[in-house]
């Protein structure tokens, strides 16, 4: 069942008088629970595609539909609610709120939604991610791997339908990277979450069910991954 779809999606940037097409006429659909890796060389537009798909950026043309509904119809507030409830984000630079502790960062989307936290679910998340001893600390007192785990927990806190991850292992060493990837795969399978992950690391891409390869903003290959 398709959960996310894009049609004729284009994103252009202006660099002086030159127009750079970061995403060029992308037509894609993502099935629920599917793990998709977007890969390609630096500057190929993979991160931009992820940002546009996840509503972090508006497309120049084309549209993105979530559960059959075009995101164009959403106003800013509705998009905020969508991001808070149905989407989760993991960034390469973790992007934790520095003034909040690990636990507070994890709870942030739940609290913004003014919901009562599902403690059993959150405890399980913390346990699965192995961050029980660090959640009382500020991000500045954590290692990169620990911060990324907190970021994953935050992305999953509201039980999202889709998890967008932008080079989640890019800042981590090999071991930590592998652990984080394993966790992402595990939690998406465990909680039935669609995972769309951007990476330039082929070994990471190989683990996805589907691999999209971009070059100069165009999708040049859409293959079923080795994991499939």
């Amino acid at each position: 069942m398709t959960i996310l779809e894009c049609k004729e999606l284009t994103k252009e940037y202006y660099s002086g008088e030159n127009v750079i097409k970061a995403v060029d006429d992308a037509n894609l659909s993502f099935a629920q629970g599917e793990f998709t890796a977007i890969t390609g060389p630096s500057g190929s537009g993979k991160s931009t595609l992820l940002h546009v798909l996840s509503s972090l950026e508006n497309p120049t043309s084309g549209e993105v539909t979530y559960n059959g509904e075009s995101l164009k119809k959403y106003n800013d507030n509705q998009l905020s609610i969508l991001r808070r409830r149905r989407f989760g984000f993991v960034f390469q630079a973790y992007n934790l709120v520095q003034e909040l502790t690990g636990m507070e960062n994890i709870l942030l989307p739940v609290m913004l939604d003014k919901k009562k936290p599902d403690e059993a679910y959150l405890n399980k998340l913390v346990e699965v991610l192995g961050i029980g001893d660090r959640i009382g600390h500020l991000p500045s007192a954590m290692s990169g791997g620990q911060q990324q785990r907190i970021a994953i927990a935050r992305a999953l806190a509201n039980k999202p339908a889709i998890l967008f991850a932008d080079e989640p292992t890019g800042n981590l060493d090999g071991k930590s990277g592998r652990e984080v990837l394993a966790l992402l795969k595990y939690v998406s399978a465990e909680f039935g979450i669609t995972l769309i992950l951007v990476t330039h690391d082929l070994s990471v891409a190989e683990q996805a069910q589907r691999v999209l390869t971009l070059s100069d903003g165009k999708i040049i290959r859409d293959t079923k991954g080795a994991a499939q």
């Binding site: 972090l56 500045s140 935050r154």
Partner: protein
């Protein structure tokens, strides 16, 4: 390839951060204008007032008049190091139509310099037969329309030495050479006879003394600072005149304003430190990166220091222009403000604020340079702070509240600094409003428009009332009240009564001893025989035969104390008296149930050595002691207290005061309660007051003696007094005073000046308050805008996890609310402490009733200002957040 130096880096940085710096520049300019503008304004105000004083009063410190050559030589001999100018007085001139006139004289060069002629039209007289007249003198002589070149025919009573003038006038023809600004009128407020001695018609030194006449001299004296000028007791002088007073007021004002501008400079300095602190904090990451690539602390200070220097150099000329034109514009709104800019003060104050900016920026700069590279990049400082502050992780929270709370805690120094600026602003603004409204709450009676008094108010027997004497009736008061444009008429009456106190006390004998010799001696000359050896005997035993006869005839026994009862308007009772005991109840005073006793706690008695004139008795309240007199001979404590009963015997007769009890007397005995005991307020003008007496309302006084007359009437007009209004008022007053030895003083020029001064003060203070609030607003805005810029990535992250614009705005508005709330609370608390505390100090020091510095308390205006400031900052915050919301989340999150 272009070489990268510290300078090029700093300049590139400035170019790239134009927008951020624009806000900082506005803040710094405001702060610089604030501090340098205030100093410049104070300097202009001071020079303007000095100029006005020079024009109004001249530059003499004391003017001694009606002197003989010998008096003058004595004066010079007694006071070495003092400079003198001499006016040669030739007589008193008046017109046939008007009886009022002016003294005629010529000034030597020094006197002319001290007199400081302000030539309004024409020129100074140079030849015989020429005269320059003060405007007021022309007006009084009915020559208001005279122009230079006109011939004036005046009657001249030729001077025949001091105190003597020919009885028959000679007719003199003068040519009016010039019209001068008033000096005599300004100098002689409260000196009714001064027009007889101070020249207001100035002739040239070629003017001869009329045949049979002899000059009297008027000495214009300039003393060194703090000089104790010795004047023979017989010499009349104006040394405590309006000129003297305004000079002291001026000194006080300058000191006050200088302290104020110092505080303001400090506040702006704090603002600048805060603005730079916020800016550098925002760039901590950049500093860390520079340190990581090998920049030394010195280079970091060099880069940012140069940026600051460029900023300060941009701000300095702009501030200079804004300060100059700002003060000039304010000066334009102020009447009687002579704009005499001191360039040195302006340049000096701008230079000082330039240095201040550099110093203020150096504090956060050196702190930022001290941070280690990793500390700056990773922001490990937060982790340390968290450990220090013992922050606990929360599992339930309102996201915007938690974020605001954390930011306030982590960046509390910045928060405190911003709040402190607001606190100072709130304090100064509250003070300014209270001061302003306290000043305008009631006109100083000294500056009332018309004062109608009695030229002769000699009393012989302070225990009887004579309705046959002079004074003003209720009808007179009403007639004045009915005149168009009159705002209020206040009458003051005084009757004499004999009080029978329950306890015997030395206090009352001391109180009356030097005021009423007629109670003690039959002959005035007996007072001159007092010595430190015999005074006690006389103090205890002496009683004049008239006073004894009065007591015998009325069969009065016990502690009898003749004391005056004065009437006051109810509002004056509350304002003017310092309550020592009990409380003033106007209703009970009106009903005659209570009375106020004016009597200090303690009285001191001296004999003052007057050399060849013997000793004179002096009595003072304890806190009015003159240091030079040494220890008093006697000290007596008041034994009467609030709540005590006192019987007042009032005797009224239709005859005149000769000390004897006439047969037609009417006696009234009334026992009343002493409701309150007050200390006399010595600031009441035009009244010869002893330290002791009773006081009540006019209604209350009527119950004691129905036939009293007002001693004086004070008229205050609703607005400016025009020439036409003055003419009308003068005609009404002339009717009232006809047949009364009246002294009429029209102080409308003073009253107008007073009104103009208030308007000036209002404009100036309001301008300062608005500027202060703008600066505080700008600083708060700067701090929050910098916080938002600094938290741009955080905003992106929060948006990515689902925060909308209102969540973000709420968080920052909470921070703003805390800053303004905390700052205002501290400011208001400090002001209220000052408000109550100063009164308490007064009470501890002088035992006055604890009374706040200003009454009533005006803080709502400041609260309103703070609310407006909050609203402006909140709107700005919303706009800033919206600006970030317009960008995509990715743009928010992206690193530098």
């Amino acid at each position: 390839m272009k070489r990268l130096t510290v300078n090029t880096f700093a300049l590139q940085s400035l170019r790239k951060r134009k927008k951020q710096y624009a806000a900082l520049i506005v803040g710094v300019i405001l702060a610089m204008v604030f501090s340098s503008g205030t100093l410049f304004f104070v300097s202009c105000l001071s020079s303007s007032q000095k100029e006005i004083r020079r024009r109004d009063f001249g530059t003499a410190d004391v003017i001694a008049f009606d002197l003989t050559e010998e008096n003058f030589r004595q004066l010079v001999g007694q006071n070495p190091g003092v400079e003198y100018g001499v006016a040669h007085m030739l007589g008193f001139a008046y017109t046939e139509e008007q009886e009022e006139g002016a003294a005629v004289g010529w000034l030597d060069e020094t006197a002319k310099e001290y007199y400081q002629p302000m030539i309004l039209e024409g020129r100074w007289p140079e030849a015989e037969g020429e005269v320059a007249a003060e405007q007021d003198a022309l007006l009084r002589m009915g020559l208001a329309d005279a122009k230079p070149g006109d011939a004036l025919t005046l009657n001249l009573l030729v001077q025949n030495g001091p105190g003597e003038r020919a009885e028959t006038p000679v007719t003199k023809r003068y040519t009016l050479a010039g019209i001068l600004g008033d000096k005599r009128k300004n100098l002689t407020l409260g000196y009714p006879d001064s027009n007889q001695y101070l020249p207001a018609l100035l002739v040239s030194d070629k003017e001869p003394v009329e045949l049979g006449g002899k000059e009297a001299l008027t000495a214009y004296i300039r003393t060194p600072p703090e000089y104790d000028l010795k004047l023979n007791a017989a010499v009349m002088s104006v040394n405590e005149s309006a000129a003297w007073r305004t000079l002291e007021e001026l000194r006080g004002q300058t000191v006050y304003s200088s302290i104020l501008s110092g505080v303001l400079m400090l506040a702006s300095g704090l603002g600048i430190v805060n603005a730079f602190n916020a800016d550098l904090h925002e760039r901590k990451h950049q500093i860390g990166l520079l340190r990581a690539v090998g920049a030394t602390k010195r280079q970091i200070v060099g880069i940012y220091g140069r940026e600051t220097l460029v900023l300060a150099l941009i701000c300095a000329p702009v501030s200079l222009c804004l300060s100059y034109f700002g003060v000039k514009i304010i000066a334009g709104f102020m009447e009687d403000f002579i704009f005499l800019p001191s360039w040195w003060v302006l340049l000096g104050s701008v230079a000082a604020s330039l240095v201040f900016v550099l110093l203020a920026s150096l504090i956060p700069l050196t702190a930022a340079a001290r941070v280690s590279p990793m500390q700056a990049i990773r922001n490990t400082e937060l982790g340390r702070k968290m450990k220090r502050m013992k922050i606990r992780s929360k599992t339930r929270f309102d996201a915007s509240r938690l974020l605001a709370g954390r930011n306030l805690r982590f960046y509390r120094l910045r928060t405190a600094l911003t709040a402190l600026i607001l606190a100072v602003t709130v304090f100064l603004s509250s003070w300014a409003f209270c001061f302003l409204l306290d000043q305008s709450s009631g006109m100083n009676p000294q500056y009332s428009d018309y004062f109608i008094g009695l030229a002769s108010d000699q009393r012989y027997a302070p225990y009887m009332n004579f309705t046959g004497g002079y004074g003003y009736t209720e009808n007179d008061k009403q007639a004045l009240l009915n005149c168009p444009g009159v705002a209020s008429v206040r009458g003051r009456a005084e009757i004499y009564t004999v009080a029978q106190f329950p306890k015997e006390s030395d206090y009352w004998r001391i109180a009356n001893y030097c005021w009423w010799h007629t109670l003690f001696f039959d002959d005035y000359r007996e007072t001159e025989t007092l010595t430190p050896q015999n005074y006690r005997e006389k103090l205890d035993g002496a009683a004049s035969s008239d006073w004894r006869a009065f007591q015998d005839r009325l069969k009065l026994t016990g502690t009898l104390v003749p004391l005056p009862v004065k009437s006051r308007e109810p509002d004056q009772l509350v304002e003017e008296e310092y309550v020592l005991e009990g409380r003033i109840d106007t209703d009970k005073l009106n009903s005659g149930e209570e009375i106020i006793l004016i009597a200090p706690d303690e009285l001191c008695f001296w004999l003052r050595d007057n050399g060849e004139y013997g000793f004179s008795a002096e009595v003072y309240q304890k806190d009015g002691l003159s240091q030079t007199w040494g220890e008093p001979l006697e000290t007596a404590k008041r034994s009467v207290h609030a709540g005590d009963m006192v019987t007042l015997t009032t005797v009224t007769s239709r005859s005149t005061d000769d000390g004897k009890l006439a047969d037609d007397y009417v006696r009234t005995d009334r026992t009343v309660t002493i409701g309150a005991i007050c200390r006399e307020n010595r600031g009441i003008p035009y009244e010869s007051t002893s330290f002791c007496g009773f006081c009540t309302t006019t209604k209350g006084l009527r119950l004691l003696s129905d036939g009293f007359k007002y001693k004086n009437l004070t008229v205050t007009m609703a607005g400016e007094v025009t020439k036409e209004t003055d003419e009308y008022m003068t005609s009404v007053i002339d009717r009232i005073v006809s047949g009364v030895p009246a002294y009429v003083y029209s102080a409308f020029a003073w009253a107008n000046q007073e009104r103009a001064d208030r308007r000036q003060a209002t404009v100036a203070i309001l301008a300062i308050v608005i500027l202060m609030l703008s600066i505080a607003g700008s600083m708060i805005n700067n701090a929050l805008t910098a916080r938002i810029r600094e938290g741009k990535r955080e905003i992106g992250t929060l948006r990515a996890v689902g925060a909308n614009a209102s969540d973000l705005t709420r968080s920052y508005v909470r921070e703003l609310l805390f800053m303004t709330g905390f700052g205002s609370a501290v400011g208001f608390a400090a002001f209220l402490t000052f408000w109550f505390g100063a009164g308490m100090i007064d009470w501890l020091q002088w035992h006055h009733t604890p009374k706040p510095v200003f009454e009533p308390l005006h803080i709502w205006q400041t609260a309103l200002g703070v609310l407006a400031l909050f609203a402006v900052c909140a709107v700005n915050l919303r706009l800033q957040i919206r600006k970030h919301m317009k960008n995509s989340i990715v743009e928010n999150i992206r690193e530098l």
